[in-house]
Amino acid sequence: MPRRKKRKEIFALGNEAVVEGALLAGCSFYGGYPITPSSEIMEIMAARLPMTGDGVFMQMEDEIASMGAIVGASLAGRKVMTATSGPGFSLMQENLGYAIMAEAPLVLVNVMRGGPSTGLPTSPAQADVQQARWGTHGDHPIIVLSASDVQECLDMTITAFNMAEKYRTPVILLLDEVTAHTREKIEVPNEGEFEVFSRTVPSMPPEWYKPYEETVRGVPPMPPLGAGYRFHVTGLTHDRNGFPTQRPEEIVELLERIHRKIDQFFYDIQLVDEVQTTDADVVVIAYGSVARSAELAVHQARLNGVRAGLLKLKTLFPYPRRHTEKILGHARTLVVPEMNMGQMSREVKRVNMGRASVRTINRVDGQIVTPSEILKVIMQG
């Protein structure tokens, strides 16, 4: 067996690791508009992309245009990304919905800051979680990921691109300001050490191609614009050819498929890390930087004789119901610490159906939830 090539180590900001991950995943198009605390992603992209093969970096006039540009570029065959924070995320919602309907793969990074409105531009929060799920109008599926440290920023960005391409869908990566603005040593994987997925392109003659056809995976192949497959893309409900339709059975087929293509692959999409959960009475369910506090708290609780565990959510939506169910087999108490007024805890409660007791810890003052706060609640059982 060949010796594993040593990985490059860098001391990088979370936002920097996102760029690193994106480039490794094959991102070649960035369109964006600056906003704290996501701006470093854009700035580093501005420096890096013009230097790479076919990399395109564009500063657009606003967040609406940013989404428009990356959806356009995605349709033209690129792996694309944008990054923003709350106010910009709100503005991106309309075109995000379009991308869902057009099934245009893209990665949207939202580095969350305190809200609502302009709120607390430089302080951490996790208050856009439900917005990530429901922000655009109409029923829609969405994949929402998160990362809790700098290495994960890199890894989850690669994952985000892979899921976007695999499922032909926008993927949202939610970071909080702490994760985005922490510098840590991370390993940059070598080529071949990680999976890179690219959208399937059609392998039939153009006349036979139907851009929104039913397939086994529910994901139709997608050629770049201009490759000889001249089809129609629209945000209206459409038939298999992409043409607008008002026929109930075609509408249902479409909406059902775009949901199913994600729902049925829950085992691939719903990612968590479990720390000492197997025997745990008290399980902390956390994500983002709060999961780091939770990890320390769980460690300290064990030292204090409490069987605590951590379920770290790396996928927020579709909510990892299966993993939660497993834990509900033994846990008496679920502790859900968040930098918001209780957004993921709604999902936990919905799945819990009254079984375990659910304790929430919520901060909305721009401060991170500390290990000791979590420890206190764990110790209360």
């Binding site: 198009f29 369109g31 013009p50 230097m51 990399g55 395109v56 564009m58 657009m60 006039e61 606003d62 609406i64 245009a65 940013s66 989404m67 428009g68 540009a69 990356i70 959806v71 356009g72 570029a73 995605s74 349709l75 033209a76 065959g77 690129r78 694309v80 309309e94 075109n95 379009y98 057009a102 770049p224 614009l225 201009g226 490759a227 000889g228 001249r230 089809f231 129609h232 893309v233 629209t234 945000g235 209206l236 050819n241 043409f243 607008p244």
Partner: protein
């Protein structure tokens, strides 16, 4: 299809699996614009595969579905943002943004001026029918002062944008105006616009009898074409007119041409300069 002429040519470019006639109202000028666009592309012998028509939302936006190009029907007002992404992603494509006046000038105004400033290599067609057709006849920023609409029952108070002046102020590279009555001129303009570098804007004046004409003393669609016939005048001749003779006249033709490279050309040239022949690392 080169032996063919007239609508026999057009028919070669229409999607055979779409239902015709199209959904637009009798006498709607949008169809004439579409025909003109097709003829211009045909004249330039651009392969269908290389054309991307990026449409906004509105009656005008519905045209995209009928033509056998790569067609993208986007969100209201945002066609130019998608078009920008597509052009930058693949500069070899000929990207045409097809927008209504509400689409391009109201909700989409910002993208229009920025596309012009940036000089992205996209041909923008603004199908100006002075009204929101699709949603049932509300005012647009191109509705003439005093006209009656569903949202201005007592007469439009706003002054209309002059699309040409707006694009000029934003720094556009090429701006022209035509009408669907003066189709040959419009075709000449489109052919020129499609062949130029950077951002070109072509405004096509196209009647909407259903939503605009009926409320503003045009009894039939034909009346609106008569009005176009009467009021349009070549911009060169218009400029020679005394101020008081200009009232009610609609100058058409090419208003200006500037010669700046398209954004995508400048961007890729910068990349080239930075990375050299395959070499990594810039020489900034």
């Amino acid at each position: 299809m080169n032996g063919l002429t007239g609508n026999d040519v057009i028919h070669q470019y229409l999607r055979h699996n779409k239902k015709f006639p199209h959904v637009l109202c009798p006498g709607c000028g949008h169809g004439i614009v579409l025909g003109t666009l097709i003829r211009s592309i045909h004249a330039l012998s651009i392969p269908k595969d290389d054309i991307v028509v990026v449409a906004g939302i509105g009656c005008s936006g519905r045209l995209a579905v009928y033509v056998d190009f790569n067609t993208v029907h986007t969100t209201h007002g945002r066609a130019l943002t998608f078009a920008t992404g597509i052009k930058m992603a693949n500069p070899k494509l000929k990207v045409i943004a097809l927008m209504g006046d509400g689409d391009a000038l109201s909700i989409g105004g910002n993208h229009l001026i920025h596309a012009a400033r940036r000089n992205i290599g996209v041909t923008a067609l603004v199908l100006n029918n002075s009204i929101y057709g699709m949603t049932g006849g509300q005012s647009s920023p191109a509705t003439p002062e005093g006209a009656t609409t569903m949202t201005n029952p007592y007469g439009q108070l706003d002054k209309a944008f002059d699309t040409v002046e707006l694009a000029r102020g934003a720094g556009a590279n090429y701006v022209a105006r035509g009408t669907v009555f003066h189709v040959k001129k419009l075709e000449k303009i489109m052919i020129e616009a499609l062949g130029r570098p950077g951002f070109s804007l072509v405004e096509a004046i196209t009647p909407c009898h259903t939503q605009y004409g009926r409320k503003n003393k045009f009894k039939t669609p034909v009346d609106m074409y008569q009005w176009l016939k009467k009021s349009a005048i070549d911009v060169e001749r218009y400029e020679e007119l005394a101020d008081d003779k200009r009232e009610g006249r609609l100058p058409i033709g090419v208003f200006f041409r500037r010669d700046r490279n398209g954004y995508e050309e400048r961007y890729y040239a910068m990349k080239e300069a930075l990375t050299g022949k395959g070499a990594k690392g810039g020489r900034k």
